[in-house]
Amino acid sequence: MRSLTVLFDPSCALCRAARWWLDGQRKYVPMEFIGAGTAVAAQRFPGLDPASTLKEMTVIGDGGQVYRGAKAWLMCLWALREYRQRAIRWSRPDRVQYARRFVAWVSRNRKVLQRASA
C-alpha cells in the first residue's frame, strides 16, 4: 500500500476536524483528502455510490481497495506513525467489533457531538 485516498463529508464539522487532524500527523503512507459527494470524487471514483460515502467515511487504497466505516478509520490510523500499533491491536478479530461499534456510535451521533464540542 503506497497511498490512501480519504473521502470525508465536507459538510460535517467533526469530519473536517478529523481530516485536519489526520493531515497533521506523521505518516508511513501519504494520504489525499477528497470531499465525499463532490464532482472530483465522482470523477475519480465513478464506481462508488456517493450516498454511501457521505454516510460513512471511505478510504480507497492505491490498488482500488475500498474500506468503509471502522475499517476506514483503522486504515487511516495504520498509515500514521504514532498509531500503527494501536490500529493493528484494534484490528484483531476479537477486538474489531469494539472499533466498529465505537465508530458507528460516533458516526450516528456526530451532529450531537459537534454541538457539544462547539
Partner: protein, 138 residues
C-alpha cells in the same frame, strides 16, 4: 601487620566492579546481536557495527560511574569496615549496571518493534475492490 585497608578496599572494589561491567557488557554484546540482525533484516555488518557502538557506550558510562564512585571519604580501619564499604559500593554499581542493562534491552526491543511496524501489512481486509479502470492515474 601494616595493611592499608582503605587502599585494599579500593583495589578490590575496582577489580569487582570492572569484572562485573565486562561480564554484563559481554552478555549484552552476545545476545543483543540477535535482536539487531533481526532489526536490520539480516544485514550482519550493520548489526555488528551498531552492537559494537552500543557496547562501547555501555562501557564508557559504567566505567565512568565506577571511577567516580571510588572515593569512600573515610579511612577503613579493619576487615569488617572493608567488607561493609565494599558491599555498599558494589551494591550501587550493581544497581547502576542493572539499570543500564535494562535500558539497553528496552532500546533493542524498541528498535525491533519499530522495524516490525515499518513493514506491517494493512490490518483489515477491504470491503470491496474497484475495477482498475475506476482507479485514478498514479
Amino acid at each position: 601487620m601494616n595493611v592499608n585497608y582503605t587502599v585494599v578496599t579500593y583495589l578490590i572494589y575496582l577489580a569487582v566492579s570492572i569484572g562485573l561491567t565486562i561480564w554484563v557488557a559481554r552478555t549484552l554484546h552476545r545476545n543483543g546481536r540477535i535482536f539487531l540482525v533481526d532489526v536490520f533484516h539480516g544485514n550482519e555488518p550493520l548489526a555488528d557495527a551498531v552492537n559494537h557502538l552500543l557496547v562501547v557506550g555501555f562501557y564508557l558510562v559504567n566505567l565512568g560511574y565506577v571511577t567516580m564512585a571510588l572515593k569512600l571519604g573515610y579511612d577503613v580501619a579493619d576487615s569488617r569496615g572493608s567488607i561493609e564499604a565494599l558491599s555498599h559500593k558494589v551494591g550501587i554499581v550493581l544497581l547502576v549496571l542493572g539499570l543500564m542493562h535494562l535500558l539497553n534491552v528496552f532500546v533493542f526491543n524498541r528498535m525491533r518493534r519499530n522495524a516490525i511496524l515499518d513493514n506491517a501489512p494493512p490490518p483489515v481486509e477491504p470491503d470491496a475492490c474497484l475495477m482498475p479502470p475506476a482507479l485514478p492515474r498514479t
